[in-house]
Symmetry: C2
Subunit: 351 residues, 2 copies
């Protein structure tokens, strides 16, 4: 029998902070580049097309001595049963012995590591002096994408938020954005006055909802797309030179957020080539023959390690297609387990 | 947050009994045949070739409103660290909502459901009056295969045990077989005197180790192979007409227990066609062109449901290739969860 720790959603939220998660996700990306990590094939099953599905993403972080999986279910009818539509968990095992270490609610891990991915995309590919962030999508992910980008980019002055289905929801989000970011993300830094003040200043900017996605695109330095869209929301002709895209929404066949024609002339980076061309934003562009797999400049780990240059000039359009890989979840979950053990959080069962 | 039950190895052992597991596994097979169940693609990863690997088998039992997965790790060096080489768990989720129900140690589930599979193979394909059982392999699985077969076959008089690497281990197994079977499997039936006595009588037969696999094969009515062998142990020319094989050892590419030439003239049944031709005992025969996928008579569920006849005559050689499917694990684990809930066993954590 083995001791096995189970950590609930609220505790996972408390144990994670965005600054650390950004560092963890960068580490996962670089371990992958160094062949110290590998993804296993993804398992996907539709219980009822368009109504309920699940996927299992698994992998091995040799460099961190862990392997494991994240299972995420989506049941569209759940809210009518007073259950969340998305339910999931992350399971971490020791890759030197195969012994399970623990598991935790998947939702907070997913939100944090997906936010981090968007911010890391901006850090390595956007122009450093970028001031205007456009967020496409005002859902659960929105605050995570914004906070991560405020952490990685020093000069953001304005966040524009667009919701393709509802201007009102974008407006409602913006009305409380500052307070929300402060409440959700700053508590972990209360003992570090300097960092706390820096982040408070970075949060203290303008948040504007828009119903004019064309004008917002023309103005943006950084565009993060975080929607479940199945058709392009942003068209190529609206995009000014120098713009960076972090696309985090597309994670399964059929999803698409930006005009596939953008890929022909952009510098394209991904988290994982195989996933990007199978389920990512890159899929449509490759499928239509606008680019080939070889036109993907590199995976992001190579840029973080300085092996591949990101942007070559201020005129480049850069795209970071983040499909979301199990390694992000595993490294984040392992961090949660370590903190939980130190602090005696969660339930220790026997397995 | 959801309540989530974790059940340790000893408790899982206590909650399972072979008679019930045989019924559960038959139900999983028939649900599959009725398209009320499906297997998801298997994930396999080798950490170090021949030294450490893991697999994730998952699936959906629509008819039982559950889905889930079993992850099993094998780390050959573990025993030197005082850890078991095989470590695993089964996770069960509600397929109407995606909510995780619970998890448990995988080892006792695997042993019971694999034993049940061998016995179910005998039940549906062996001659009903079979008296001689030959067990190839004297490892962890041996008592489970024997007990399941004694439950499904009324006339067994002798069990012959063969270990290809060590006659001594087979002899040691036989020396304590009766006591072992009684201690491991009969306690759950202590309140049913009639059943208890019946099973006690069935156990009270001859157990003989052999170092002559040819003679043992010539004598056997039922042969169960439960080894990790990578080459055939039983040759076609030794096998008498009417023999039934339940092959449960082969569950990954490279494994083989019986002469592939047996398949040309036998009636071949499997638990899952895709798995059988990819990782099962059937793989080599198909690969060498001795049979094609179409020569597999059917999956076992069809025979249990009476849609396909099993054996046609007392002269048929029958082969049941049981690769082991996630549905067996899931239905067994779900039963454990229900019993554990009734009896308040295990640890209830929040997820």
């Amino acid at each position: 029998m083995f001791p096995f720790r189970v950590i609930d959603e609220a505790s996972v939220r408390k144990l994670l902070d965005m600054k650390n998660v950004i560092e963890l996700v960068e580490r996962a990306y670089t371990l992958k580049e160094q062949k110290e990590a590998s993804l296993f094939p993804m398992v996907f099953h539709e219980f009822a097309p368009g109504k309920a599905d699940m996927d299992i993403k698994s992998g091995h972080l040799k460099g961190a001595h862990i392997f494991g999986l994240k299972l995420v279910s989506w049941f569209g009818d759940n809210p009518s049963k007073e259950l969340p539509a998305l339910v999931g968990f992350v399971m971490v095992l020791d890759s030197d012995t195969g012994v399970p270490k623990g598991m935790m609610s998947g939702e907070p891990v997913t939100l944090m590591r997906t936010g981090a991915a968007g911010g890391i995309g901006a850090k390595y590919f956007a122009r450093p002096e970028s001031e205007n962030l456009l967020l496409v999508g005002s859902g659960h992910l929105a605050p995570y994408e914004i906070m991560a980008t405020l952490l990685t980019m020093k000069h953001i002055k304005k966040v524009t938020v667009y919701n393709a289905n509802s201007y009102e929801r974008a407006a409602a989000f913006c009305a409380t954005a500052k307070d929300k970011l402060k409440t959700m993300f700053l508590p972990p830094y209360q003992n570090d006055q300097e960092l706390y003040q820096t982040l408070l200043d970075r949060i203290d900017i303008e948040y504007v909802a828009t119903d004019n996605i064309r004008a917002a695109t023309e103005e943006a330095d950084i565009i993060i797309t975080a929607t479940p869209s199945h058709k392009p929301i942003i068209m190529k002709e609206w995009v000014k030179p120098g713009t960076h895209f972090s696309c985090v929404g597309a994670d399964m066949a059929g999803k698409q957020e930006i005009d596939e024609n953008l890929f022909s002339s952009a510098r394209v980076f991904v988290d994982d080539v195989t996933q990007a061309i199978n389920v990512g934003e890159t899929k449509v562009a490759v499928q239509k023959g606008l680019i080939t797999q070889n036109d993907i400049i590199s995976e992001i780990g190579s840029v973080i390690l300085g092996k591949t240059p990101g942007r070559l000039s201020d005129q480049d359009i850069t795209i970071y297609d983040s499909t979301g890989i199990s390694l992000q979840d595993l490294i984040t979950a392992d961090y949660v387990l370590k903190k939980a053990e130190e602090q005696g959080i969660g339930t220790v069962a026997q397995l």
